[in-house]
Subunit: 403 residues, 2 copies
Amino acid sequence: MKVLHDDCLTLLPTLEEDSVQLVYLDPPFFTQKEHFLRTRDNSTEYSFKDNWRSLEEYLSFMQNVLSQCKRVLKKSGSIFFHCDKAAAHHLRVLLDSVFGSKNFQSEIIWAYKRWSNTKKGLLNSHQTIYFYSKSADFKFNTIYTAYSPTTNIDQILQARRRNGFGKVVYHRDEEGQVILAKEKKGVPFSDVWSIPFLNPKAKERVGYPTQKPILLLERIIQISTDSGDTVLDPFCGSGTTLVAAKLLGREYIGIDSSIEAIRLAEKRLTEPVKTDSQLLFTGETSYLEKTDYERAILKSIDALPVERNSGIDGFLRSYIEGSPVSVRIQKQNEDLETAKQKLLRASQSKNCAVMILVRTHRTTEWLNYAQEEPKIMIIDSYDLVIEEWLERRKTIEVTSADK
Amino acid sequence: MKVLHDDCLTLLPTLEEDSVQLVYLDPPFFTQKEHFLRTRDNSTEYSFKDNWRSLEEYLSFMQNVLSQCKRVLKKSGSIFFHCDKAAAHHLRVLLDSVFGSKNFQSEIIWAYKRWSNTKKGLLNSHQTIYFYSKSADFKFNTIYTAYSPTTNIDQILQARRRNGFGKVVYHRDEEGQVILAKEKKGVPFSDVWSIPFLNPKAKERVGYPTQKPILLLERIIQISTDSGDTVLDPFCGSGTTLVAAKLLGREYIGIDSSIEAIRLAEKRLTEPVKTDSQLLFTGETSYLEKTDYERAILKSIDALPVERNSGIDGFLRSYIEGSPVSVRIQKQNEDLETAKQKLLRASQSKNCAVMILVRTHRTTEWLNYAQEEPKIMIIDSYDLVIEEWLERRKTIEVTSADK
DNA sequence: AGGGAGCCTGAATCCTCAA
DNA sequence: GTTGAGGATTCAGGCTCCC
């Protein structure tokens, strides 16, 4: 339970051999720049340098760190090495050479959505964590997750076997009764982790650059240690790893070369703050407010769906007359006038020159809104057109039959 | 447009320099087997040196391949290298040395869900594709996706600027009116792609275990080439890349050292109709058959897409008057009469009481087919309705301005 | 030409105001 | 007071532009 201030190459050799269950490393990524960030109240600026004379210098430094990490690790211990695209491949070559390629366990992909930028090409939205063990006999706690909603309950509960043709079928006894499968715990964790990026507005943020979400560290600690085990973070920064370790009842050792970081980590440890991600808590689907039907209509007019707005369902991708075009789909149990008013009100502040209202059923057939309100275009949904055509056809048939 | 049979190191030098826009590499399995055998028996019997030597051989072979790929690539061209995770880091080091690390564009993560196994540790559920360009001036078509559901529309639509204190605020004019941002088309694609593995049924039909999902290749081809460009796959296997290229209107060159693979690829290419409908007629994987636009229209009228029928694009899920309803969407460069004839002919044997023809552009406005042919319902596409509404609006404005 | 300052972007939060 | 809809804010990365 200590937070130590010095270069980790100085301090690591002072730690006892075979004493640590988990090493988590979040070193500089070889971005070749200095990272700054201010606290929300603007009082303090934290920074760290990630400038190196060459890749060789960087790798040689990391090699020394890794050798020390291996020394202090218990035989059943593991190392999780956090890196990004800048040097991930070189670092994995290094890890292979220090820990042995046979001790490679996983390439964990931390995938997240984040605000975009103007990069040509694909938006970067993942970082890599290499998971190596010290030996084949490493500690690992399998965590099970819920089955995906598309898995049906029979698949989970019923035993299966191959029938005469080699096809897998549900197992039943002679009387046709279902045979239950062995107890199942869920789906084991995969190596692709979708964890929200620590949002700029999150209270969990302490103003230290490159801060990682506590949730990410909790997961690493849970799969590789038991309570009472020791966790080491040689580049602890603001101390996220230590906070996670403390919350989970693990011992911890943190090292950082910046005294500001150490002070911040110590402060966080006395009063740890973990905010629950609203998104993670409620799930992304809770933000989705449209039916499949509405989405299909939006897609077929190449409109972008928009959530969190009760008046507007989407926007056309292209502007008309220099301004955006809002789209609303008439809801069930909503008459056209109401739909129109909602669309108008919501679009008011958006400077729309034209609005599109998709009529899905006919409640006020006699009105001709297109004339009345020249900014609103009313389109009949395909369904409505088909329905009315069929009705008209029936009438015609009846009429001709009458003759 | 050729499929060549020989070792790619023999054939690549015969290809013209600066002639190819995209190289997709999915290297052969035999080297992987070697690698897997070593990791599977998990013994330390194999000395590091032995393994290193075979790895070196492999890398030296790949280095030659990559040099040739670079030679045949146009200056604006790109290479997508699909890696086996066991050697991904070594291959990226190689790619760095051949193409230059400054031409590294993305590490694409292909993430998928998979049935769990009993492996200790995390479930592998991703593969890596490295994306390098030949120069800084590479071709790239950005694909835009929907905004996150947590995003509110103000930040998309409103322009922002810095106020006196350097803080970013929404831009407003003197009267406090919102100032619009430039037109936005959505969020650019990220480097983490969730694409399901091939549907097991489809897999069964082709019998090619290493086959990649067609959607994956389609996406790669779309972001890095335009129609008419040439795609090269030096390890083409069953030819999925070539089929995708052909159906997207790209030229293609495929190479494989296995004569069985070449024969299969050639067969798929000469009769893509049959083979691919077999491959793809298993529900959601029908990505190549229809344009997104057509699929969206079919979905919004709740119609099931039909693959590879030159007259019919889909059927309504529900029958009308006891018989199926065929749907056709008027193609670009096709006049309504032609569309109608094709639909009629294709529907003849299907006993349709009603047919739906979606008009997407107006070539023969004066005709009223609904009267003439009571079995065919003609629906104007949303796009067409919008377009004509805007034109009418313009006319009205001009007229009122005249007054 | 090269380096640094500043701009643009949107995810997910916080905050405000109205009902 | 309570709720919640929707407006406002922050951050980092890659770009462009300017000196």
